[in-house]
């Protein structure tokens, strides 16, 4: 795997907060079209890794490249989003005072400047795209409801829908099934597998059942660096992984 052919490339990345190394010499490569699951105990640095990729946190050292050519450490959140990196947060963060439909409208790929938005008129394509996403995330019936009034699981789905609306090249999905029922979890796995057919995806998740369901390559993080990488069976057989994570 090389930098040139990768969609995301992290090499020797470190970051510390007040002397505490949250990410320690982390290297990770994601191929175009690949879906990767990231596991690891709480505090392993999974969310911080996403913060670094999306420009929220600047690494102290190391390389972070998108598409093999774009140095992400030189860009801010808005620019990185426009390159095509979308993110779902660990706790669902939707625009609560707006309708489900408007949450998707705001996320829809395209113009991001303020002035043109004053005179924006919903095109047929935009309306169709929103309808399609509402179907995918099974929220057609709630389209006119305020996002604040959705259940926890529905908010998670809405946020995945917002990701889809952005139509990014890479999706970073942080703990999408936390707090979901088993049925919702299975539905989410189905949704992500569908999405992975056309996008590169990184999913952070604790739920082993869910990770098994995804059936993709797994990376286990611990104390800010990669502990093991491979199939789920390979990783969960690793002594150190069992010690720090699974065996607890």
């Amino acid at each position: 795997m090389s930098k040139a052919t990768s969609i995301l490339y992290l090499d020797g990345v470190s970051v510390s907060f007040d002397g505490f190394k949250a990410i320690n010499n982390l290297s990770l490569t994601l191929d175009p079209g690949e879906m990767r699951a990231i596991i690891g105990p709480n505090g392993a640095g999974k969310t911080t890794m996403m913060d670094i990729i999306t420009g929220k946190t600047r690494p102290d050292e190391g390389e972070v490249y998108f598409n093999g050519t774009i140095d992400l450490t030189r860009h801010d959140e808005a620019e990185i989003a426009m390159f095509g990196i979308g993110r779902k947060f660990q706790k669902p963060t939707v625009f609560e005072s707006q309708t489900v439909e408007d949450n998707l409208l705001l996320s829809l790929k395209g113009e991001r400047r303020g002035f043109p938005a004053l005179f924006y008129r919903k095109s047929k394509e935009d309306a169709a795209a929103i309808d399609e996403i509402l179907g995918t995330i099974r929220l057609e019936a709630r389209r006119k409801d305020l996002a604040a009034n959705l259940s926890h699981g529905q908010k998670q789905w809405l946020e995945i829908g917002m990701l889809l609306a952005q139509d990014p090249k890479v999706l970073l999905v942080d703990e999408p099934v936390a707090g979901m029922t088993d049925a919702e979890t299975e539905e989410t796995a189905r949704l992500l597998k569908e999405i992975a057919k056309t996008h590169s995806v990184i999913v952070v998740e604790h739920d082993m059942h869910f990770v098994r369901e995804l059936g993709v390559k797994v990376t286990c993080l611990h104390e800010g660096s990669v502990l093991a990488e491979g199939t789920l069976d390979h990783v969960s057989a690793d002594k150190r992984v069992i010690e720090v994570y699974l065996g607890r």
Binding site: G86, K91, S97, S107, R112, A117
Partner: protein
């Protein structure tokens, strides 16, 4: 075509349309009751009430301007009276130039206060104010450019919440101190007054006052259409998204600083126009208009009427100021206490103000950031706690 569709958005909310109709009724009724109904009739409106209500209309426009940034974008500006005063000064400078040689000193080239200070010639920044068109341009440009520069620095540095409120307050305070200085050339302590006429009409004539009243009402209605169109557009949705979860919008590719800047500049321009309409109706503009307390009063009107409702702040401006006129007649020393008490009461018990009380605000089951765990708040919006006041 595009513009027509944009303005049509301003009429989408029934509440806003109702507000427009009421202001329109006022714009017709007041002149009729004052000019057409004979004096002595029980329905005659006394002359002094026309500029008084006209003044309230200007305050209402100022409250509307504040609501655009505070209600819809979460920017609690404690310096909005500064934009109002700057618009007022631009109008005042035009009115001063109209005095010509009719001043106390009879100097055709210089306003009285400059003669008094022994100035020999007009400072350069007074050039052009003989022209009404130029002065009107300044009414919008001066507050607009100040807001552009101020907002550009503040929003780009990601200053939000209480810190932003404090620097807006510092801005109006600094302007007040500057305008108090005689050397600034804006009449110092006394400000600008003794106006004679405006575009050829005697400023003290009742017909002129009625004319200014109608123009103020029209400005308020237009202001309502524009702000309502703005918040009903997609831009308005982005604005609310920035208000509710600023850092989240960045990950969608938006630049919250630019989004906020548009609303802030528009708001300052509206405030400036309100100030320009206010000055000929009250007959004076002085540095007292920059006082920090004035800006805080605007916040109280807006909160009392109901934040983020557009019409609420207009109602709030009328009610609180009518209350003030009455209260300062009865117990003048206690007005500030009453105002402070009112603000605390509204904040604690009427978070959506009068509009909320009347049940005119769309409810939602929960408020966003309050409900999240502190951990989630830090996760997505490090400044969320500050964003919501």
């Amino acid at each position: 075509m595009i513009l027509a569709r944009f303005f049509a958005g301003g009429f989408r909310s029934p509440l806003v349309v109702a507000g427009m109709v009421i202001i329109l009724a006022l714009a017709v009724l007041v002149p009729v009751l004052n000019l057409a109904v004979p004096r002595g009739s029980a329905f005659h409106m006394p002359d002094y009430l026309v500029p008084l209500i006209g003044k309230y209309l200007c305050y209402a426009l100022l409250a509307l301007a504040l609501d655009l940034v505070w209600g819809f974008c979460g920017i609690l500006s404690l310096g909005h009276a500064a934009f109002f005063a700057l618009g007022g000064y631009a109008m005042g400078m035009y009115l001063m130039r109209q005095i010509g040689s009719r001043g106390v000193y009879g100097n055709p080239d210089l306003p009285d206060f400059m003669v008094f200070l022994n100035w020999k010639e007009l400072p350069w920044y007074w050039y052009g104010f003989d022209s009404f068109a130029f002065a009107m341009l300044m009414v919008v440009l001066v507050p607009g450019i100040l807001a552009l520069v101020f907002g550009w620095f503040a929003f780009r540095s990601r200053v939000t919440g209480v810190y932003l409120s404090i620097i807006t307050q510092a801005m109006t305070f600094a302007l007040m101190l500057a305008f108090f200085r005689n050397e600034m050339g804006f009449g110092g302590n006394n400000g600008l007054t003794d106006f004679k006429d405006i575009v050829g009409f005697d400023i003290a004539a009742q017909s002129t006052r009625v004319g200014l009243f109608i123009i103020s009402a029209a400005a308020l209605i237009i202001g309502l259409v524009i702000t309502s169109a703005v918040i009903n557009s997609k831009y308005g949705k982005i604005l609310a998204a920035v208000r509710d979860a600023e850092s989240r919008t960045r990950f969608l590719g938006y630049r919250p600083e630019n989004i906020k800047l548009i609303a802030f500049v528009l708001s300052a321009v509206i405030a400036g126009i309100a100030g320009a309409l206010y000055v000929p109706q009250v007959g004076i503009i002085n540095p007292g208009e920059f006082e920090p307390a004035n800006s805080i009063e605007v916040v109280v009107w807006t909160a009392v009427g109901g934040r983020a409702t557009l019409v609420g702040p207009i109602a709030g401006a009328f009610l609180v100021n009518a209350g003030k006129s009455w209260f300062t007649g009865v117990l003048p020393e206690y007005w500030l206490f009453a105002l402070g008490g009112l603000f605390i009461f509204v904040t604690l018990f009427m978070p959506k103000g009068i509009m909320g009380l009347l049940g005119l605000v769309r409810r939602r089951k929960s408020t966003p950031v309050d409900e999240m765990s502190p951990d989630a708040r830090a996760d997505i919006a490090p400044n969320a706690a500050e964003q919501q006041q």
